[in-house]
């Protein structure tokens, strides 16, 4: 067992020069400890992706772990030359769908009638703080599809062409959908400000 633990060391010389898909190919070939490198690179983006939709720290971390477990389990299905992040977020989207299927109580849709318990709090009078809070709430209120799209484009570092690959549509279509999602966000932001 000892030799396996020694291999855990993530200090592979020149590793920063390796592309994600090259690392993933090594993982696929059995060097599973290199997966730690991909975790270091992408765990935060993946966590943001779940946290903004599930809104529960522990569950989001569990989901991140599930994704990495699936990556190990299905590593043989990774195609050489494919984009690792596109593959990883496709797995993540599946995990998210399953999560909401089994957790109906924490429904993907947030009840728009829910009162803002902090709206009268004098500590929140600072304009920027209130704006941030309103923006966060507006993001919760838009449709799940729009929310996911904005999260992917703002918090995961994925370029539009990769997001288009995840959704299996053209880059042009993605840009239009992001614009529509922004309009939805704006409408909710205005609603909240007027409440």
């Amino acid at each position: 067992m000892e030799d396996v633990l020694i291999n855990k060391n993530r200090e592979y010389p020149g590793v920063e020069l390796l592309e994600d898909h090259e690392i993933m190919v090594s993982v696929k070939d059995g060097d599973v400890h290199k997966l730690g490198l991909l975790f270091d690179r992408h765990a935060q983006g993946l966590f943001n992706y779940f946290q903004l939709q599930v809104r529960d720290r522990f569950r989001s971390e569990d989901l991140v772990q599930n994704v990495f477990y699936k990556i190990l389990k299905y590593r043989h299905t990774f195609k050489e030359g494919a984009d690792f992040r596109v593959w990883m977020y496709a797995i993540a989207r599946n995990e998210k769908v399953n999560f909401f299927k089994h957790n109906r109580s924490s429904d993907e849709e947030v009840n728009p009638e829910q009162p803002d318990e902090n709206s009268n709090n004098p500590e929140n009078d600072l304009a920027s703080k209130t704006d941030k809070k309103h923006l966060g709430r507006a993001l919760e209120r838009i449709s799940p599809d729009s929310r996911e799209l904005l999260i992917l484009s703002k918090y995961t570092g994925l370029p539009y062409n990769r997001i288009a690959e995840i959704y299996d549509c053209t880059v042009g279509a993605i840009k239009v959908r992001i614009f529509r999602a922004m309009q939805e966000l704006k409408a909710q932001f205005v609603n909240i400000a007027e409440e």
């Binding site: 946290q51 989901l63 772990q65 941030k132 840009k175």
Partner: protein
């Protein structure tokens, strides 16, 4: 160009990914359209406002969990690589394996009996101890096949049922334990992890299992699993557990019920 066509370019215009020619078109339109200018200003404040939203950071606990999962998985692969001539036969056997744990157990038992009978007949005919040893190894490999099919079960109920059945197994080996420990440390479902604690409770006679159970205490996120692990370690009076228990008691972030249980367990060691 109409306002709507221009607005659809706003997202790229804001993050600078629009090509120069199209950016010029947007600029030209904005200079003559007050409504679009206002719309762009609002969009900008929201678009860059999203960047300013504070995101929580990934915890060290998750990093530890992932490292542990990779270690356990790596160990499993290493063992598979060590397989000898019977590896391809077992792969073929695995492809024939029934998906229901009840059927899996029945098949294992049947194969076990065949294996033992063959072993005895060889033993009585040739008295060749070497061959019996080889057959025993094969039986151990079969345990692995059973375990890996539990790991592959998509449904939580099936995984729990599979784990419950492992209590009937005897003469387990390290690979078998490491698979159970992998489930304990990395299964996504709390109930499955709880079932893994119960399954491992049958094998606390093994030093490796006891050591890994102590390690697992720091890796668990769910208070339920932590409590059942503490109870198990207290029952077997594992001396190595005391420092892990003290860590929990001193950890400001630990669940209050878990802390209480840890204090109670620690008293049993003193």
């Amino acid at each position: 160009m109409e306002c709507n066509n221009i607005k659809e370019l706003f997202v790229e215009y804001m993050d600078g990914s629009l090509d120069a020619k199209e950016a010029q078109k947007v600029d030209a339109h904005l200079s003559s359209c007050k409504e679009c200018r206002r719309e762009l200003e609002t969009m900008k404040s929201l678009w860059f406002g999203l960047d300013a939203l504070e995101m929580e950071k990934v915890s060290d606990r998750l990093k530890k969990n992932i490292d542990n999962m990779i270690d356990s998985y790596g160990l499993g692969i290493k063992n598979t690589r060590d397989e000898k001539w019977y590896a391809s036969f077992l792969k073929w056997l695995e492809s024939l394996w029934p998906s229901r744990p009840a059927m899996q157990l029945a098949s294992t038992m049947a194969l076990l009996i065949i294996g033992l009978l063959t072993g005895f007949s060889i033993g009585s005919r040739t008295e060749s101890q070497k061959e019996i040893v080889q057959l025993k190894i094969d039986v151990n490999q079969l345990q692995q096949v059973v375990m890996s099919s539990i790991l592959d079960q998509a449904s939580v109920t099936e995984r729990i049922r599979g784990l419950t059945m492992t209590s009937k197994m005897k003469n387990a080996d390290t690979e078998f334990y490491s698979t159970l420990l992998l489930i304990l440390n990395s299964d996504s479902n709390v109930n499955v992890r709880m079932a893994a604690v119960n399954a491992l409770a049958n094998f606390t006679g093994n030093e490796y299992v006891r050591r890994e159970l102590v390690k697992s205490l720091n890796l668990q996120s769910s208070p339920l699993v932590q409590v059942s692990l503490i109870d198990l370690l207290a029952t077997i009076k594992e001396p190595e557990a005391s420092s892990a228990l003290i860590n929990i008691i001193n950890d400001s972030g630990a669940n209050i019920h878990v802390k209480e249980r840890a204090k109670k367990a620690l008293k049993q060691f003193i």
